[in-house]
C-alpha cells in the first residue's frame, strides 16, 4: 500500500512522533494534556511570584509520574523512553515541574529503590510515588559543587546511631520536602542517609533572589547534630557511585526535558512571527526571521532524535554514563541557543512572562549548570574519547 504523504507538520518536522508505540503516544498525550490544564495557565504567575504549587505532587502521583520508571512499590514501571517523553512534556510546561519530577523520581526515590533495604523501600516508596511525601537530594555544598567528592558534611557513629553535621546548598524541593536523601562523609567513605525533615537538628533556608527556576523551590539544608537511627543509612552502596548513579538517572530525564523547553520556545516564536506584522508584512516573511525559525526547528528535531536514540539505548541496557553526558551537554546548550533566538523573534514581548520564552531561557541557565555543568560533561566526554582524565 502506498501512503500519500500529507503536508509537512511544522511542529513535528521529522515525524518523530511516528516512531513512538501506541502506549508511548498515549502517555505523551496524557502528560501534555496535564501540562496544558494544570501548569501552563498559571506558570507565568508562579514564576513571577517565585512559587511552586506543591499540591501538584498528588496529581502527578495519581497519574503515575513520580518514580514512573521504577518497578513495584506503587511505581508505574514504564520504559526509560516513556520517562523521557514525560520529561519533554513537563519541561515544555516549565523546567520547575520537570525538576520536581526528576528530583522526586530519579534523585530521591531511585537511591532508596536501588540501594535501600526492603523496609526502607516499603516505608518510603509507595508514599513518594503517590506524591504524599516529597523528597529531595542533598549532594552539593557551598564549597563543593562540581567536585562533589570534596564534601564536608559528615556522619559519625554514636553507638548504633549516626550523628549528621554540615550543610547542603542549592537543593531542589529542600524547603517542601518530607524526606531528604543526604550524602555524607563517613569513616567508611561516602554514604547515603534517609533523613526525615522533621528530625531534630534539621532545618532549611529557601534561596531567594533567584532569576532562574523561579517556579521551583531551591534551599539550603542545615544539619546540626542530627541524630539518625542505624537504619537511616542506605545499606547497599558506599562511595561516589551512590550519588553518581542517581545523577545518571536524572540527567537522562534532563536530556529529554531540554527538548521540551526548546520546542516550546520554537513554537512560540513560530506562531508569533506569523501574527506579528512590521513593514506591512508578518515578520515571518523576512529572510532573517526565517533563518532563525529554520535553525530552531532543525535544532529541536536534532535534539529530539538524540534523546529518542539514547532512550532506546537505555531500554536496551546498552547506555553508558558518557552517552548520557553527550545528551545532557548537547541538548541543553542547543535548547539555550533556541531560547535566545526565539527571544529575539518576540521583540519586546519576548522579555515578558506573557510569553513562555524568557522563562525557559532563564530556566535553562540553571539546567546548564546543574546535574553536571556543561564543562564537566565536556570533561567526561573528553575522557571517554581520549582515555585521559582532565578533571584535575
Amino acid at each position: 500500500m502506498t501512503v500519500k504523504p500529507g503536508p509537512i507538520d511544522a511542529l513535528d518536522f521529522l515525524e518523530i512522533g511516528s516512531q513512538l508505540s501506541d502506549e508511548e503516544r498515549l502517555l505523551r498525550d496524557t502528560v501534555r494534556q496535564f501540562v496544558e490544564d494544570k501548569i501552563l495557565p498559571d506558570v507565568g504567575d508562579w514564576y513571577d511570584q517565585g512559587y511552586f504549587p506543591k499540591e501538584l505532587a498528588k496529581e502527578m502521583g495519581a497519574m503515575g509520574l513520580l518514580g514512573m520508571h521504577l518497578e513495584g512499590y506503587g511505581c508505574a514501571g514504564t520504559s526509560a523512553t516513556a520517562y523521557g517523553l514525560a520529561s519533554i512534556e513537563l519541561e515544555a510546561g516549565d523546567t520547575g515541574a520537570r525538576s520536581f519530577v526528576s528530583v522526586q523520581g530519579s534523585l530521591a526515590m531511585y537511591p532508596i529503590w536501588e540501594f535501600g533495604s526492603e523496609e526502607q523501600k516499603q516505608q518510603w516508596l509507595p508514599a513518594m510515588a503517590a506524591g504524599e511525601k516529597i523528597g529531595c537530594f542533598g549532594l552539593t555544598e557551598p564549597d563543593s559543587g562540581s567536585d562533589a567528592a570534596s564534601m564536608r558534611t559528615s556522619a559519625k557513629r554514636d553507638g548504633s546511631d549516626w550523628i549528621l553535621n554540615g550543610s547542603k546548598m542549592w537543593i531542589t524541593n529542600g524547603g517542601i520536602a518530607d524526606v531528604a536523601v543526604v550524602w555524607a562523609r563517613t569513616d567508611e567513605g561516602i554514604r547515603g542517609f534517609i533523613v526525615p525533615t522533621d528530625t531534630p537538628g534539621f532545618s532549611t533556608n529557601d534561596i531567594h533572589k533567584k532569576v532562574s527556576l523561579r517556579a521551583s523551590v531551591t534551599s539550603e539544608l542545615v544539619f546540626d547534630n542530627v541524630r539518625l537511627p542505624a537504619d537511616a543509612v542506605l545499606p547497599n552502596v558506599v562511595g561516589m557511585k551512590g550519588p553518581l548513579s542517581c545523577l545518571n538517572e536524572a540527567r537522562f530525564g534532563i536530556l529529554f526535558g531540554a527538548v521540551g523547553a526548546a520546542r516550546a520556545c520554537y513554537e512560540s516564536a513560530l506562531s508569533y512571527s506569523k501574527e506579528r506584522r512590521q513593514f506591512d508584512q508578518p515578520i515571518a516573511s523576512f529572510q532573517l526571521t526565517q533563518d532563525k525559525l529554520v535553525e530552531m526547528m532543525i535544532s529541536v528535531n536534532r535534539s529530539a532524535l538524540i534523546a529518542m536514540h539514547l532512550g532506546r539505548m537505555k531500554d536496551a541496557g546498552t547506555i553508558r554514563p558518557a552517552h548520557i553526558s553527550f545528551g545532557k551537554k548537547e541538548n541543553v546548550r542547543a535548547a539555550l541557543a533556541v531560547a535566545r533566538s526565539a527571544r529575539s523573534v518576540l521583540g519586546a514581548n519576548g522579555i515578558t512572562l506573557e510569553y513562555p520564552v524568557i522563562r525557559h531561557m532563564t530556566n535553562l541557565e540553571s539546567v546548564y549548570t546543574y546535574e553536571g555543568t556543561n564543562e564537566v560533561h565536556t570533561l567526561i566526554l573528553g575522557q571517554a574519547i581520549t582515555g585521559i582524565n582532565a578533571f584535575s
Binding site: D9, E23, L26, T30, T78
Partner: protein, 258 residues
Amino acid sequence: MKIAVCVKQIPDPATPYQLDPTTHWVIRPPDQVMDDTDRYGVEVALQLKEASEGEVVLVSMGPAGNMQGIRQALAMGADKAVIIDDAELKGSGALSTAKVLAAAIKREGADLVIAGTESSDGYTGVVPQQISELLDVPALTFARKFEKTETGIRIERQTQSGYDVVECGLPALISVTAGVVEPRYPTFKGIMQAKQKPVDQLTVSDLGLDGDSVGGSGSGQDITEVSPVPSRQAGQVIEDDGEGHLRIVELLEQAKVV
C-alpha cells in the same frame, strides 16, 4: 450495574480536518483521539461504578484505526470496549449511528447508557435520544449532576433558566454536559494495561443488522453541499478626535442595543 458509555473517536481537533471532495465525509486518519466530550461520559461511568460496583463497557462506531481514542478511555479505567467497524457503515448519519450503537448496547445488556450531549465533530446532538428511543428506555438529557438512587438514577437537567431534577428507574440513558465532572487523566499503569483489556471488533452482521438499514442508505439523509464559513468582515476603526464616544453611541443605537 453494567454501564455502556458511547465513545466516539474523532480526528485530532488540533490538526485540520480534511473532507472528501465528492462524498463530503470527513477523511479519518488512522490516528484518532477520543472526543473530548466523551471524557466526561467515561468519568461519570467510572464514578458510578466506583460508588456501586459494576462494569464499564465502551461502545463506539467508526473506523477503528489504531484505537488510540478507545485505549485512552480504557486507560482511564473502563473494563472493555466494543467497536463496530464495517465498510457497510460508510456514509452513516446520526440515525444509522444510533441504530448500530443501540444494537451493540442491547447485545451487552447494559443497565445504564451514557453519552455526550453532542459530539465535537458532527454535533448533531441527536444520537443519545435516538438510542433511547430505539432501546425504549427513558432518556435523561443534559445532565449536569448525577446520582445513583436505590432503584435508578437521578440527575439535574440543565435548562435555560436553571435546572430540573429528573429521576427514573433502570434501564435508562443519560446524556452528560461538559463540565459535569472533572475527567481523570489516564494513569500510566492504566495505559500499560489498556492493551490487555478486551476489545470486541464487530461488524454490522455480528449485530444482526441488515446492511441496508444502516450506513448511507439507512440514514435518510445526504450531504448535498459543504461550504466554508464566510470569513468575518474587517471591523470599522473609529479614530478618536474627541468625538469618538458620540460615534459609538450612534452605532449602538443603530444596532438597537441602547
